[in-house]
Structures are given as structure tokens and as C-alpha cells.
């Protein structure tokens, strides 16, 4: 099937009644959950996975994709109104969004954010449509060593770009990898670390990890902060209108950051958070009046919003065409694919064009829906921010419990969920980043497989990883990505 035919199939899927309906549900739920302080796309996707059981994979995945970019979109609302970003990708949004809201221009800030997000999202879907098939056709020739190297690169990139100490990020990734070795070994059938417990034979389900490390750990933080955020200080919305002058001011940053955000989203490890910060910093640097930034600047708000949404679509490039997630969020999204029996990767475009192109095509509709949802309805939707914390905490726990129970039907997994909730909270307390853990957990199984496949091909000779130029290059880039933080560290010491 040619690309054009595939694209048409995709639009057929996206514009079918079912397609439109599930995109709408996805972006709505995503916006909703993304808006809640603390709950980001990872929790949103993880909570929604059980809902997709028994569904046809195409609409289910179209919906999950909607949940993802909807959550990024929704996160900006709490950043602007409460100065409490729902997710790290919208932290930069609050720099200028919140001051604007304090000046009584909350409505305008929300409108600027929504329009910038819309443009960022739409431009990047166009780019995704061009780049993903190209990458797919290149990746189709990749053997196990190249795949291993690719996943290695993804993992090293996310660890070296994590906040704080690199050794902590690496430890987090290694422990995530260790957890995935629990269960029956796929190649030899050996039981590893199961302690004879039948519940552990199939390993620990990724939902247990995702909901434990993210949703439940966030609940713990919410419990401590339950009195901090008084929600009465939400400001008056004011008018949603944007003047011509403001539109003109926005156009530059939005266009630039849509492209840059997309590129950063495609690269492993970067993603929405880094794209939004880089977008903000770049625009501040090239602005004629940089001192306006941080005081409610239109440019300062438009840049990170265009960038984070562009990065979100960009992240779909490696996910769909290589089957390799570049971030914690896309790792959970990959989990959703696998739960539905769909293996993303270079073959997806030819084997399941309706899924590959359906997801991409549905993003156009999704972005339009988000704009519609966010512009006129924002005053009503933002009421969700007033849900009392105690009730929110109980409900998030309930959703996590249902999510895990519906996938395993065993209380053993629920106890594991509780355990990983504690682990996730401790990780936060001691500043160990969780995204490397979840990415290593999701990639771990595939990495081990391609590692052992490669060695089986070479009859145990490790040189196979450096013989091929592709895998050698990828491994070197992966190793180099550690060099930067180390060099920076040494420089700091000298200084």
C-alpha cells in the first residue's frame, strides 16, 4: 500500500463516526486529567488503559493518543490559573501565563495558550506525517544490534537529560531494568526472581509500575500539600479576545517554536518539558524587550505552549516508526499499544496502515476539538480545579486500583501497586527521577531480547554491536550523551 493510499485510509478512520467520537472522548478526558494539578499525561494514559480493553485497537489507540496530547494541552490551564502546573511540560507556561492572570487577563492568557498550542500541534502533525513514513522505511532494515543500540540511545538520552544528578537517573534506569527481569525468561524459560510465586511468573505488569510510580506517588505529594493550595484565589477570567497587535507578536515565536519543538520531540529523551524550556529561553534571548518576559509577556506564553504541543506530536515519530519511546510518557503509551496487541515499529505502517495513519490523521481533528473545547468552554472546565483535594485523592486512588485490577484480576498486583507507590514516593523524596525507571522497564524486555538475539547471531561475539555502522554510531552517541553532564560537572568543580 502506498503512502497516499495509507493517508486516505487514515483520514477515513479519523473521520468515521467512531473515530471522531473517540478522539473527542480522548482529548476531553486528557484535558480534564491534565488540568488536575500533579496528574500528567502518564497518569492520564495509565488510568485510561483499562477502558480500552475489549475495544477495537484502532479507535482505542486514536483515543489514547488524544488523551496524551489533550493532557499536555490541559496542563497549561492550571499553570495559568493557579501557577500550579499539572505537568512538567507546562512549567514554562506559568512563567508568563500566571502573571498575566494576576493582571486580570486570565481569559486572554488561556486564549493565547490555546491558539499557540493549536498551531504548534497542527504544524507538527504535518511534519509527523512526512517524517514518520520516511523513518519507517529506513528502520525496516534494522537488525537486532541496531535495535539494541537504538534503545540504548533512548535510555541514555533520557537519563542524561533528567533533572538533577546523572548517577541517580542512571540508578533509576538500572533498577527499572532489574524489575523487568522478574518472571519467566522468554528465551530459555528459566524462572527469574519469582521466589516460586505464581503471580510473578509473567512479571510485573507495566500498569502497576506506571500507576504506582506516578499516580500514587503523586497522591502522596497531594496528601502532604492538601492544605497548601487554596483555590479561592482563582482570578477573574476577563475577555478571551486577542488584539491584532498581540496576534502579530505571537506569530514569530509560535512558528519558530512549532518547528523547534517538533525536532526536540523527535529526539530521544527531550520531549515536551525540555522543548518548552528551550522555546522560552530562545525567545527571551532573541526578543527585543527581554525584560518583559516573566511579567506577562505574550511571546513568553506563546513560545512554550507552541513548543510543548509540537514536541508531543514529534514524540510520535520514534514511537510509531521505530516502536521505541523516547520519554516516560511515550513509554506508557507504548504499553497501551502492547496491551491492545499492536506492536508499533517499522512494520506498522505497512501491516496496520489504518492504525498508523488513523492516529496521525486523527490528530488534526483532535487539535481542532481541543481548540473548541478550550476556547469557549474554558471557564466551565476550569471549575474542575475546585475539586476538593481530599476527594480528589480518594478518587485517584480508586482509579489506580480499578486500572490494575481490571488488567490482572488479582489482589496480589494491587499490593504490588501499593508497594510501587511507596517506592515512587521515596524516589521523589530522594530526588531519583522516575521517567528513566519507567522507560527502562518498558524497553528492558525488548532490549534484552535484541541483545541476546544479536549475540546468538554472532555466536556470542560482542563485536557484532560495533561492526555495523548504524549500531556503532548510535551506541557512540548514547555514550557521548553522558559526556556532556560529566564535562559540565568537572567545569563547575574547577570554577
Amino acid at each position: 500500500m502506498g503512502s497516499l493510499e495509507g493517508i486516505l485510509t487514515g483520514f477515513q478512520v479519523a473521520f468515521s463516526v467512531e473515530g471522531v467520537l473517540f478522539v473527542l472522548i480522548g482529548v476531553f478526558v486528557g484535558t480534564f486529567i491534565g488540568m488536575l494539578p500533579g496528574l500528567g499525561p502518564i497518569s492520564a494514559i495509565a488510568v485510561m488503559i483499562p477502558v480500552t480493553f475489549g475495544m477495537d485497537p484502532t479507535p482505542a489507540l486514536v483515543m489514547m493518543a488524544g488523551v496524551y496530547y489533550g493532557a499536555v494541552f490541559g496542563g497549561s490551564t492550571s499553570s495559568i490559573l493557579l501557577n500550579a502546573p499539572g505537568i512538567s511540560g507546562t512549567v514554562a507556561t506559568s512563567f508568563d501565563g500566571y502573571p498575566m492572570a494576576q493582571q486580570g487577563k486570565a481569559g486572554k492568557a488561556l486564549a493565547i495558550a490555546a491558539i499557540s498550542s493549536f498551531i504548534g500541534g497542527t504544524i507538527s502533525v504535518l511534519l509527523l506525517m512526512m517524517l514518520a513514513p520516511m523513518l519507517s522505511s529506513v528502520a525496516i532494515s534494522f537488525g537486532p544490534p541496531a535495535y539494541f543500540a537504538l534503545m540504548f540511545l533512548g535510555l541514555t538520552a533520557i537519563t542524561s537529560l533528567s533533572e538533577g544528578s546523572t548517577s541517580k537517573a542512571l540508578i533509576s534506569a538500572v533498577v527499572g531494568f532489574m524489575v523487568v527481569t522478574i518472571g519467566i525468561d522468554a528465551q530459555t524459560g528459566t524462572q527469574r526472581f519469582t521466589f516460586g510465586n505464581a503471580n510473578l511468573l509473567e512479571g510485573i505488569d507495566f500498569l502497576v509500575i506506571a500507576l504506582g510510580l506516578f499516580a500514587l506517588a503523586e497522591v502522596c505529594t497531594l496528601i502532604i500539600k492538601r492544605k497548601d493550595l487554596s483555590l479561592d484565589n482563582t482570578h477573574k477570567l476577563g475577555s478571551l479576545k486577542i488584539t491584532k497587535q498581540e496576534a502579530k507578536e505571537m506569530s514569530g515565536p509560535v512558528t519558530r517554536q512549532s518547528f523547534m519543538g517538533f525536532v526536540l520531540g523527535v529526539l530521544p529523551g527531550a520531549g515536551a518539558t525540555i522543548a518548552s524550556f528551550i522555546g522560552y529561553i530562545t525567545e527571551k534571548r532573541i526578543a527585543k524587550k527581554p525584560d518583559e518576559f516573566g511579567k506577562g509577556s505574550v511571546r513568553g506564553l506563546a513560545a512554550p505552549e507552541a513548543a510543548n504541543n509540537a514536541a508531543t506530536s514529534g514524540a510520535f515519530v520514534p514511537l510509531l516508526s521505530l516502536g521505541i519511546p523516547g520519554s516516560g510518557t511515550t513509554a506508557v503509551l507504548l504499553g497501551a499499544f502492547l496491551v491492545l496487541g499492536v506492536q508499533p515499529g517499522p512494520l506498522l505502517m505497512t501491516d496496520r496502515p489504518e492504525i498508523f495513519w488513523g492516529i496521525i490523521a486523527s490528530m488534526y481533528i483532535g487539535n481542532v476539538f481541543l481548540l473548541i473545547l478550550n476556547l469557549p468552554l474554558i471557564p466551565y472546565i476550569s471549575k474542575i480545579l475546585k475539586i476538593p483535594r481530599p476527594l480528589l485523592i480518594s478518587l485517584v486512588i480508586m482509579f489506580s486500583i480499578i486500572g490494575v485490577y481490571a488488567i490482572s484480576f488479582s489482589t496480589f498486583d494491587l499490593y504490588m501497586l501499593l508497594l510501587f507507590g511507596v517506592v515512587g514516593f521515596l524516589m521523589r523524596l530522594f530526588s531519583f527521577p522516575a521517567p528513566p525507571f519507567i522507560l527502562a522497564f518498558i524497553l528492558g524486555g525488548m532490549m534484552e531480547q535484541s541483545f541476546r538475539q544479536s549475540l546468538t547471531i554472532s555466536n556470542g561475539n560482542y563485536m557484532i554491536f560495533v561492526k555495523e555502522p548504524i549500531s556503532l554510531t548510535l551506541l557512540l552517541i548514547g555514550l557521548l550523551s553522558f559526556a556532556f553532564p560529566i564535562i559540565g560537572h568537572l567545569r563547575k568543580r574547577k570554577g
Binding site: 540508578i171 528465551q187 496528601i223 483535594r389 480508586m398
Partner: protein
């Protein structure tokens, strides 16, 4: 000897690495595999040991904000433990009393414990939410949740 926090954390992690390595060495070998099931675990175990040693000698590079996170008032620690216990009982009773009943009890008491004062709203949410979820899952999604002692 254990002056910094990193050193204390390293020691805990070192124990985990050692335990993991010990178990890796007990894995049975499979005669026909070129790369056996124990290769990767052993590699990971040693990698963790190396990283932990690196952490041991790294200076704390945390920001003030990250440090402040660990200053949890005693009252909040108790609240955390209590919610932990609530969840534990929730799981324990889930298959005995059934989803609807346990969830309703959990939502009501947990929210109440955490300081939610509007009892009527709390009761309404605690009753309607589990019912809604239960029927969505069992009827619409065809995923059965524990029925327990209720007749439906």
C-alpha cells in the same frame, strides 16, 4: 563515616544490588543457550554496584527545594501512613465485600479523614462513583469487577 545523605542512600542501594546479584548467581543454567538467562541480571547487578559507588562519592547536588521536600511534618507522615492503611484495607476487602461496597467505604472515610467536611456531598460521591464505575466496567466494557456480597 556516613556523613552525607548520598552515602546513606548508597548503602541501601548497595544492599539491593548485592541481594540481586546473589539471586542472579543462583539462577539455573540452560545448556543450549548462547546467552543464558543469567547474563543480563549479572551485568545489571554489577552496573548498579558501580553506579552506587559513584553515588557514594558524589556530593549532594540537590536544590533547596528538593531538600525541603523531605521536611515532612510529623502530622503529615501520620496522615500518609493512615491513607496507606486505608488503601491496604481497601485491597484486602475488595474481593470479600465487593467493589461497590469497599470503594464507597474507602472514598467516604478517606476523604473524611483527609479533612473533607461536606458530608452529604461526600456520601453522594462515595455512592454514585463506585456504582457508575461498576456498571460501566461490567456492562459496557465487559470487564467483571468483584461483586462481593451485593446482589448485583
Amino acid at each position: 563515616m556516613l556523613k552525607t545523605l548520598n552515602q546513606k542512600v548508597s548503602l541501601v542501594l548497595l544492599a539491593i544490588a548485592a541481594g540481586y546479584l546473589l539471586l542472579s548467581y543462583q539462577l539455573p543454567s540452560y545448556p543450549y543457550a548462547i546467552v543464558d538467562a543469567d547474563v543480563l541480571p549479572k551485568g545489571l547487578g554489577y552496573l548498579l554496584v558501580i553506579l552506587v559507588i559513584a553515588l557514594f562519592f558524589t556530593k549532594d547536588s540537590e536544590t533547596e527545594e528538593q531538600k525541603a521536600r523531605r521536611n515532612i511534618p510529623k502530622k503529615d507522615i501520620l496522615a500518609l501512613l493512615a491513607v496507606f492503611a486505608f488503601v491496604f484495607f481497601y485491597i484486602f476487602l475488595l474481593e470479600i465485600l465487593g467493589f461497590v461496597l469497599t470503594t464507597a467505604l474507602f472514598i467516604f472515610f478517606c476523604s473524611w479523614f483527609l479533612g473533607y467536611k461536606k458530608h452529604l456531598t461526600n456520601i453522594i460521591v462515595a455512592v454514585l462513583f463506585p456504582l457508575f464505575m461498576y456498571f460501566t466496567f461490567t456492562e459496557f466494557l465487559q470487564i467483571s469487577l468483584p461483586q462481593g456480597i451485593l446482589p448485583f
